[in-house]
């Protein structure tokens, strides 16, 4: 395959991944959600309180970061499981949320003949800076007046 065809395929996968991600979030989080238009990020990214990283391999390689304030994740835990969480249990929930959202996205994309796999989640607690990517697409989601962000990070050109 030529480099141009590979790059085009990457862009199709990224576009499909964002659509798959939106449908995945809607099916995993049973709440009124609003999605802001995706934006391209090409500089360092600073995480708020809490985040989870999931590695993606297969037709597309990169990482998904889901991050936000604790209050945003607590709102999500409240709508999904009807409970307030804190400390270790909130962190574990955030890891599982990352796993469920990414798992659903990969499942949706498999229906369009894309073959992707996900790694176990790594939870990152506290404000952090991410530098190990060339390009990222950020999708911001509002839930109950709280916002969380999803980034598709890749070392490849877009």
């Amino acid at each position: 395959m030529s480099e141009t065809i590979i790059a085009e395929k990457q862009n199709v996968i990224i576009k499909e991944s964002i659509n798959g991600m939106i449908s995945s979030i809607k099916s995993v989080i049973p709440a009124n959600l609003s999605f802001n238009p995706p934006v391209l990020i090409q500089k360092d990214y600073h995480q708020s309180d809490l985040g989870v990283i999931i590695g993606i391999t297969g037709d597309f390689s990169g990482q998904i970061l889901i991050e936000g304030e604790e209050t945003a994740f607590n709102s999500i835990a409240q709508v999904m499981y009807g409970m307030e969480l804190e400390g270790e249990m909130l962190e574990s929930f955030v890891g599982e949320l990352g796993n469920q959202i990414s798992g659903h996205m990969v499942t949706t994309l498999s229906q369009n003949s894309f073959s992707l796999n996900i790694s176990p989640p790594t939870v990152i607690v506290g404000k952090s800076k991410y530098t190990a990517f060339k390009n990222a697409i950020k999708l911001s989601v509002e839930v109950d007046n709280n916002r969380f962000n999803i980034l598709f990070m890749t070392a490849k050109e877009m």
């Binding site: 270790e88 249990m89 574990s92 890891g95 599982e96 796993n99 990414s102 798992g103 499942t107 176990p120």
Partner: protein, 117 residues
Amino acid sequence: MKILVTDDAKFMRMQLKDILTKIGHEVVGEAENGEDAIHKYNELKPDIVTMDITMPERDGISALKEIKKSHPDANIIMCSAMGQQGMVLEAIQNGAKDFIVKPFNATRIKEAIDKFL
């Protein structure tokens, strides 16, 4: 029923334990990865195992194969966020008795467990 719960997320183990206990079953052990599940299966001989797939150290499909190799009668229910057709097929072909896609609810868990009563 004596049940072994396998999931790398403590939160999910808590959720499953809560649901299973409320519907009258006993969670005899918790495993946090596939390797742990194999050891705990041999040690506890549960009636049923719930098995996540994406886990560190050893994934759930590999643990399923290993447990079934030495215990062909083992009752293993996969419980994963990954629901691709190929993944479900691989699990069932390797002896999984059911495949629950997360997020789940108590009704779906009960339906899967009731098949063994």
